[in-house]
Amino acid sequence: MKQSVLSQFDMPWIPITGLLLFVFCFVAYTYWTFRKSNKAHYQEASMIPLEDERRKI
C-alpha cells in the first residue's frame, strides 16, 4: 500500500529543476573558462605550484 503511494509520489519538476540548474551553470562556467581572453591567465595560474618560493638566506 505504502509502496504504491510512494511510487506515485511523482514530482517530475524536481529532478527537471535540478537538470536545468546544472545545464545553466555548466554552460556559464564553461563559457567563462574557455574564453580566449582568459587563456594566458589560466596558463599563469597553472604554474602556481611550480613557482619555487624565493628563499631568503
Binding site: I14, P15, Q43, A45, L50
Partner: protein, 719 residues
C-alpha cells in the same frame, strides 16, 4: 608562530618573509603510516575470518562483525584522513605562500583527530556502534569529530585569509568542497538521540534512514576519498613531474561538474529497495553522468605526465601516482556501470562490491598516498629516498595483491549471484540452500586474503623505506622564504565572473555549498517530508521490549554486515526469502538494518521460519544446523546477561521519536520482557536446555529473529 613581521621595500610592493609549519605535516605523515598499517592488518584479519570462521579465536571483540567497522573507519578516517591532512597542510601553505593560520589550532587538530581514532578502536570492537555503515561511531565521538573538523576549517580558511597569492589554485577548491561537504554529511547523518553515553537511536527510521545513510555513505566516498585526493593530485602530480597540469581550464570544469553531480549518486546503493522509484532512477542517472567529470579528472592527471613517461619508470613517486590515476579511471568506470539497475541487480549484495571498493581504496587512495609520501618525505627530512629498489618491490607487491583481490571478488560475486538466481525449467531455485552458494566461493575468499596480505606487506616495506629515509635526513624548520604581500596590484578589475570568483575564497565556499545542497535537497527532502503521504500499515507494530533488546544485540554484533533485511522484487528473491519488502515494514527500525552485503542469507522474513531451538543451536555453533556455514560461533551470547537496566530509557527515547509505546507499556517494559524471555526459555527447556538460559542475551536475540517479517505476513492473511 608566524614570522611575517619584517618588510622590505621593492618597487611599490611590500616584500614579506615567512616560514612554513612542516612539523605538523611530519606528524600527520607518521600518523598516516601508523593507522595505515593498523587498518590493513585489520583488513587482512577479517579477510581470513571469511575464509575460515575460526580466525576470531572465539573472542567477541575479534569477531568479524565488530572488526569490520573498525577496519573501514581505520582505513577511511585513520589512514586516508591523516594522509589528507598531511597533504593539505603541506600544499596549502606553499600554494598560498604563507604559514598555517595558527600553530596551536594545528596541534589541536592533530591530537584531536588521533584521539577520535583511538576512541574508535576502543569502542567498535566492544560493540559500541550506531549500526550505520561507515558512520558507526557513537554520539560522543560524533560530536568530537564535528568540533575537530571546525578547528581544521578555521585553520584552513584562516590560512587563506593570510595568503600572499591572489588566485586560489584548483587544488584548494577541492579542499574547500571537501571541508564543507563532509561537515554537512556528517552532521545530517549523525542526528541521533542519546540513550546512554554509549548508545543512541537514529532520528530517522526505515526508508528515510536508509536514504540519509546512503546519501552520506556514497558521499563519504566522494568527499573523503575522492575530492581531497583530486586536490592533492592537482598539486603533487605537477610537482613530482615538474610540469604544470595538462589543462587548467579542464580542471575548472572538472571541479564544478564533479561537485554538483556527485552528491546525487547515493540512491544507487538502494536500487530495487522500497525507496521511491523516482529517487532510484535519479541516483542511477547521475551516477552514470559521473563518468564524465571522473574521467575528465583522470585524463587531466595522466596527461600531466606527457613528456615525462620515462620518469614514471625510474621515479617511484611518479610511478605510484600514474598507477593510482589508472586505478581511479577503472574504479570510476566500474562505479557507474554498477549503478545501472540491471547490472546492479546482479552485483548488489555480492562480493563484487567489496572488490570495486578496494580497487578504489587500494588502487587509488593507497597508491596516491604512496606517491605523495615518496615526494613529500624526502623534502620534509631534507634528503633523498632511502631505496628505490624497495619502493619497486613495494609497488609490485601492492599491484599484484590488488589484482588478486579484485579478480577473486569479481569471480566470487558473479558466481554467487548467478547461483542465487538460477532456476530450473519448473520455476524452482536450482540452489535453494543459500549455503551451497557460499561453499562455492570460499576458495575465492582465500585468494582475497592472500592478495590482502601482499598489500599489507607492501605497506610495511614502505614504512621501513620511509623510516630509513627520515633517519638519514634531518628535519629542518624555520627556513625563511619571501613573497610580496597581497595588495591591490593583483586585483583584476575587468576579469570575467569566474576569474573574479577564483580570488574570492569565501564566496567560492558558499557557492560550493549551494552546489551540493541543491542535489541533497531535491533528493532527500521530499522523502523526509513524505511521512504525511504514507498510510501506515496497521499490522506493523512496534517491537516488544525484549525484541528491542534483541535488536540492539543484533546491531552490536554487526550482523548487518553479512545479512541484509530487504527483499528485492525479483522472482528468485521472492522464491528464496518471501514476499518483496514494503516501506511500511520498516517504520520502527532505528537505525534501519537493510545491510549492503549478503555473505549470509537475507533475514527480512526469517521470523517463524525455524523453531527457537534451531536459532539456539545456530548461534551456539552454526555448523550444527548448517553444514559448511562460515558464520562464527556466538558463544558469549550464552553467558552475557540481558541488559534490562537501560530498557525503560530505550523505550522512552523511542517514544520521543514517535514510536507509539504507551506510558504503561514503558513502566511494565522490564516485566513484559522477562515474561517473553520466560516463554522462549520454557520452549527451549522442552528440548532439554537448562532453565538458566532465561536471562541470557541469546534469548533476546531469538525473540528479535522470530519477529522479523512476521507482522507483514500476518497482514497478508487478515484482509
Amino acid at each position: 608562530m608566524s614570522s611575517d613581521a619584517s618588510t622590505m621595500p621593492s618597487s611599490n610592493r611590500r616584500l614579506e618573509t615567512f616560514s612554513y609549519d612542516d612539523q605538523i605535516v611530519r606528524w600527520f605523515v607518521i600518523a598516516t603510516l601508523v593507522w595505515g598499517a593498523v587498518a590493513m592488518l585489520l583488513g587482512v584479519t577479517i579477510a581470513f575470518q571469511l575464509a575460515d570462521w575460526r580466525v576470531n579465536f572465539g573472542v567477541p571483540w575479534l569477531t568479524f562483525g565488530r572488526l569490520r567497522p573498525l577496519h573501514t573507519n581505520g582505513a577511511i578516517f585513520g589512514f586516508c584522513g591523516n594522509a589528507i591532512f598531511a597533504g593539505i597542510y603541506f600544499s596549502h601553505q606553499r600554494l598560498l605562500k604563507t604559514r598555517l593560520f595558527n600553530d596551536l589550532l594545528s596541534k589541536i587538530h592533530f591530537w584531536g583527530w588521533q584521539f577520535i581514532i583511538v576512541s574508535a578502536a576502543l569502542t567498535l570492537p566492544f560493540g559500541i556502534t550506531s549500526g550505520k555503515e561507515y558512520a558507526e561511531l557513537e554520539w560522543p565521538i560524533d560530536i568530537l569529530i564535528t568540533l575537530i573538523w571546525v578547528v581544521f576549517a578555521v585553520n584552513f580558511f584562516g590560512t587563506i585569509i593570510r595568503r600572499r597569492e591572489r588566485h586560489i589554485y584548483v587544488a584548494i577548491w577541492f579542499y574547500i568542497a571537501t571541508i564543507i561537504t563532509v561537515a554537512v554529511l556528517h552532521i545530517v547523518n549523525s542526528m541521533e538521540v542519546p540513550v546512554t553515553f554509549f548508545k543512541s537511536y537514529s532520528m530517522y527510521a526505515g526508508v528515510q534512514d536508509a536514504l540519509v545513510q546512503w546519501w552520506y555513505g556514497h558521499n563519504a566516498v566522494a568527499f573523503f576519498l575522492t575530492t581531497p585526493f583530486l586536490g592533492l593530485m592537482y598539486y603533487f602530480v605537477p610537482k613530482a613531474a615538474n610540469r604544470p597540469v595538462y589543462s587548467y581550464r579542464l580542471s575548472i570544469i572538472h571541479f564544478w561538474s564533479l561537485v554538483f553531480i556527485y552528491i546525487w549518486a547515493g540512491p544507487h546503493h538502494l536500487l530495487y529497495t522500497t525507496l521511491p522509484e523516482w529517487a532510484q532512477t535519479l541516483g542511477m542517472v547521475f551516477s552514470i553522468s559521473l563518468w564524465m567529470p571522473s574521467w575528465g579528472g583522470m585524463i587531466n592527471g595522466l596527461m600531466t605526465l606527457r613528456g615525462v613517461w620515462h620518469k614514471v619508470r625510474t621515479e617511484p613517486g611518479l610511478r605510484f601516482m600514474a598507477t593510482s590515476l589508472t586505478f581511479y579511471g577503472m574504479a570510476t568506470f566500474e562505479g557507474p556501470l554498477l549503478s545501472i539497475k540491471s547490472v546492479n541487480a546482479i552485483a548488489h549484495f555480492t562480493d563484487w562490491i567489496p572488490g570495486h571498493v578496494h580497487s578504489g581504496t587500494i588502487g587509488w587512495n593507497y597508491m596516491l598516498i604512496a606517491g605523495i609520501l615518496f615526494y613529500m618525505v624526502p623534502k620534509l627530512w631534507n634528503t633523498e629516498l632511502y631505496s628505490k629498489k624497495l619502493a619497486n618491490i613495494q609497488f609490485w607487491l601492492a599491484t599484484i595483491g590488488l589484482v588478486f583481490y579484485v579478480v577473486s571478488m569479481w569471480v566470487a560475486g558473479v558466481t554467487q549471484s548467478l547461483m542465487w538466481r538460477a532456476m530450473d525449467s519448473t520455476g524452482r531455485l536450482t540452489y535453494p540452500n543459500f549455503i551451497e552458494t557460499v561453499v562455492k566461493i570460499v576458495p575465492m575468499y582465500w585468494v582475497r586474503a592472500i592478495g590482502g596480505t601482499l598489500v599489507l606487506i607492501s605497506f610495511l616495506i614502505m614504512i621501513y623505506n620511509l623510516y630509513k629515509t627520515a633517519k638519514k635526513g634531518k628535519a629542518q624548520d624555520g627556513e625563511v622564504f619571501e613573497a610580496y604581500a597581497l595588495d591591490e596590484s593583483s586585483v583584476e578589475h575587468k576579469a570575467t565572473p569566474h576569474r573574479k570568483l577564483e580570488g574570492w575564497p569565501m564566496i567560492f565556499a558558499v557557492l560550493s555549498l549551494i552546489a551540493i545542497l541543491v542535489g541533497s535537497a531535491i533528493e532527500i527532502l521530499p522523502s523526509l517530508l513524505s511521512d504525511k503521504y504514507i498510510v501506515k500499515n496497521i499490522a506493523v507494530k512496534p517491537y516488544t521490549p525484549l525484541e528491542l533488546i534483541g535488536r540492539d544485540v543484533y546491531i552490536r554484533e554487526g550482523c548487518y554486515l553479512c545479512h541484509s533485511q530487504t527483499i528485492r522484487p525479483m522472482a528468485h528473491e521472492v522464491l528464496r526469502y518471501g514476499k518483496a519488502s514494503d516501506a511500511a515494514e520498516f517504520v520502527y527500525d532505528r537505525p534501519f538494518q537493510w545491510g549492503s552485503k549478503r555473505t549470509g542469507p537475507d533475514l527480512a522474513r526469517v521470523g517463524g521460519k525455524y523453531p527457537d531451538m534451531w536459532h539456539y543451536r545456530h548461534f551456539y555453533d552454526p555448523r550444527e544446523v548448517t553444514a559448511g556455514s562460515i558464520m562464527p560461533r556466538y558463544t558469549w551470547l550464552f553467558d552475557n546477561k540481558i541488559d534490562y537496566l537501560t530498557l525503560p530509557k530505550k523505550m522512552q527515547v523511542m517514544q520521543q521519536l514517535g514510536v507509539p509505546y504507551k506510558n504503561e507499556e514503558i513502566e511494565n517494559g522490564v516485566a513484559s520482557a522477562k515474561a517473553q524471555a520466560l516463554v522462549i526459555a520454557t520452549g527451549l527447556a522442552e528440548s532439554g536446555i537448562p532453565a538458566q538460559i532465561v536471562d541470557k542475551e541469546v534469548v533476546a536475540l531469538i525473540s528479535y529473529m522470530q519477529r522479523l517479517g512476521i507482522d507483514f505476513t500476518k497482514a497478508e492473511v487478515v484482509p
